[in-house]
């Protein structure tokens, strides 16, 4: 039995790897797009962290500790960057490949299954997301926003965010009918960026709004990365991770179901 499971896992890895290879070859000529994405989130860091941060100075957290506002906001911007990179890759790019360029229609006739396609796209989104995150963390370090070597754990923390939004993005790509649907996605993403605990602790919001924030995937990502960056670890971290992983697996499952239904007519 374990032999069968092993060979099935190997086949899945090989198949999704083939799609990864396709994306890599297709992207080699378009590295400028990747760089522009990284620059964008760095600009956010400069604008909010240093611009606004210089005016606000230090803030006191609900548990009583005091940190500089820049150190408070930077992890949230990082979480946001991870979300944006992965969401762009999975939702917009997968939508384009799926409905517009019909890339998957060609793949359909090969041994690859919808699950392999979903997995391959998630791998790819993770790799792209990881390059942004790593660059971002390096810049944070250069500006002295990382308190200790433990802060490097922010990178794997961001991987959980990337996984969650890869799942969400894939599902959206299969749900969306046309480009205007992306305006809705962008509106929701921007709302999460503004109100998901990026700039102020959630406890500062009115009581009725707090549950809405707790539903936001980005909130859990921000809390996870911020907790690690500021060295405030706790059992809630596991809740954040579980929530993000559930979104990843659920999103991938829905996406591959919808891909199968659309392609295997």
């Amino acid at each position: 039995m374990s032999v069968i499971a092993y060979s099935a896992a190997r086949a899945t890895l090989r198949s999704s790897g083939a799609l990864l290879n396709r994306n890599w070859i297709a992207m080699r000529r378009a590295w400028i797009l990747v760089i522009s994405g990284a620059v964008e989130s760095l600009l956010f860091l400069f604008a909010f962290g240093f611009g606004v941060g210089a005016l606000v100075g230090d803030i006191t957290l609900p548990d009583g500790t005091t940190v500089s506002y820049t150190a408070y906001v930077a992890p949230a911007i990082l979480a946001n960057a991870a979300m944006m990179a992965v969401l762009a890759e999975t939702s917009i790019n997968v939508f384009a490949k799926f409905k517009w360029m019909k890339v998957y229609d060609g793949i359909l006739n090969t041994p690859l299954r919808p699950w392999d396609i979903a997995l391959g796209e998630v791998w790819w989104a993770l790799i792209r997301g990881f390059t942004y995150i790593a660059a971002f963390v390096v810049v944070m370090g250069l500006f002295g926003l990382l308190d200790s070597w433990w802060s490097l754990l922010a990178i794997p923390a961001c991987v959980f965010i990337a996984l969650a939004f890869a799942g969400i993005g894939l599902t959206l790509a299969t749900l969306f009918r046309d480009w205007p649907d992306f305006d809705w996605m962008n509106a929701v993403v921007f709302a999460m960026f503004l109100f998901g605990g990026t700039f102020t602790p959630v406890e500062a919001y009115p009581a009725f709004a707090q549950p809405i924030v707790y539903i936001m995937p980005l909130y859990h990502g921000i809390e996870l990365v911020r907790g690690i960056s500021l060295g405030q670890l706790g059992p809630m971290m596991l809740v954040h991770i579980a929530y993000l992983m559930a979104l990843c697996v659920g999103g991938m499952w829905i996406a591959q179901r919808r891909l199968a239904r659309a392609l295997y007519k």
Binding site: A11, R14, S15, G17, A18, L19, N21, R22, I25, A26, M101, K102, V103, D105, G106, I107, L108, N109, T110, P111, L112, R113, L263, Y264, K265
Partner: protein, 327 residues
């Protein structure tokens, strides 16, 4: 432990059945696209599905290609069940879809190498195979070009090359020359002849009778989701139509007038078929028919005698032309 089912490679068994279907059906909601078809495709043969647009050919191809689930009936490909073993079957098939589905973000060469990856072919072997296949379809000079820069005929040839990347046991081509200009069509045909010559089993759909006649060893004629005739092109012609056909035109006379004229022709041939622009007279001897017309003092503006084709078979069986006013 049984050794049944093992076969030495390099010794094709001509009686081996690659695809078999029994009462195969496919419905989309209320619409039944394929209404119970039976057929068998053997190793090494070129098998054709001839029919007008919407006859259910492409749907049948998609079911054989394991990208569409049959609604009812049985279907076996390589002795396996497409419902549960789709990926294994697809690994042994080569498919040229009607719309090519080439990867527009990749170059000609990359299209082949990347596709090889989907079949688990290692990079080095993939590059060698890609170069060899580009040579086969005469696209080596365009290997660095983007797919969109190719003409329709070149894109089709690339799709054919791509379908061969995994050394398939059966190549499925859906309307391989539809939309191509005559010169491009002949280039595609010539390559398909080469494949046939190498012993590759071919399955194709077409609504061109000349294509079916030239390429297919055996074919079935499909109409409205059913198979209405089957056999070799020669058998079909011998069974369903006379040896010769005389085409009569009467100036600008059209549908209704021609139908009236057709009534006066009774007896000049085995069967009279009025079409919108001409009347077909099926006959075993065109000279006899011409003489009969002379005797009745009927003088068409043009008379063309020719041998019967699959087009006539289709017309006789369905009462409709295969390619209706395509130009």
């Amino acid at each position: 432990m049984s050794y049944e089912g093992f076969r030495l490679t390099g010794m094709p068994d001509v009686n081996e059945i690659l695809v078999s279907a029994a009462d195969l059906r496919k419905s989309y909601g209320d619409h039944e696209a394929v209404r119970g078809v039976d057929f068998e495709i053997r190793r090494g043969e070129a098998f054709g599905f001839l029919g007008a647009n919407g006859a259910g050919k492409s749907t049948t191809m998609r079911m054989i290609g394991c990208v569409s689930q049959p609604s009812a009936g049985t279907l076996e490909v390589f002795g396996r069940d497409p419902r549960t073993q789709g990926a294994e079957i697809r690994a042994r098939l080569g498919v040229v879809p009607q719309d090519n589905t080439l990867d527009g973000m990749l170059t000609v060469f990359e299209n082949l190498v990347v596709y090889a990856g989907y079949f688990g072919i290692k990079r080095r072997a993939a590059r060698e195979k890609a170069a060899e296949l580009l040579d086969f379809v005469q696209l080596t000079a365009r290997s660095k070009d983007q797919v969109n820069e190719l003409s329709g005929g070149m894109q089709r040839r690339l799709a054919i090359a791509r379908s061969l990347i995994n050394d398939p046991e059966l190549v499925i081509l859906d309307e391989p020359t539809t939309g191509l200009d005559p010169q491009a069509r002949h280039l595609v045909w010539e390559r398909l002849f080469q494949l046939k010559h190498r012993g590759v089993s071919i399955l194709l759909t077409t609504h061109y009778m000349d294509e079916a006649e030239q390429l297919c060893d055996r074919l079935v004629v499909m109409d409205e989701g059913r198979i209405i005739a089957s056999g070799s092109p020669r058998e079909l012609i011998d069974t369903h139509v006379t040896k010769e056909v005389v085409e009569l035109r009467f100036g600008t006379a059209h549908t209704a007038e021609l139908a009236a004229l057709a009534d006066t022709l009774d007896g000049v041939g085995a069967q009279i078929e009025p079409l919108p622009d001409k009347i077909l007279v099926y006959t075993d001897d065109a000279d006899d028919t011409n003489a009969a017309l002379e005797i009745r003092d009927i003088h068409p503006t043009s008379v063309l005698a020719r041998r019967a084709t699959l087009e006539d078979v289709f017309l006789r069986l369905t009462g409709r032309a295969l390619v209706e006013d395509e130009a």
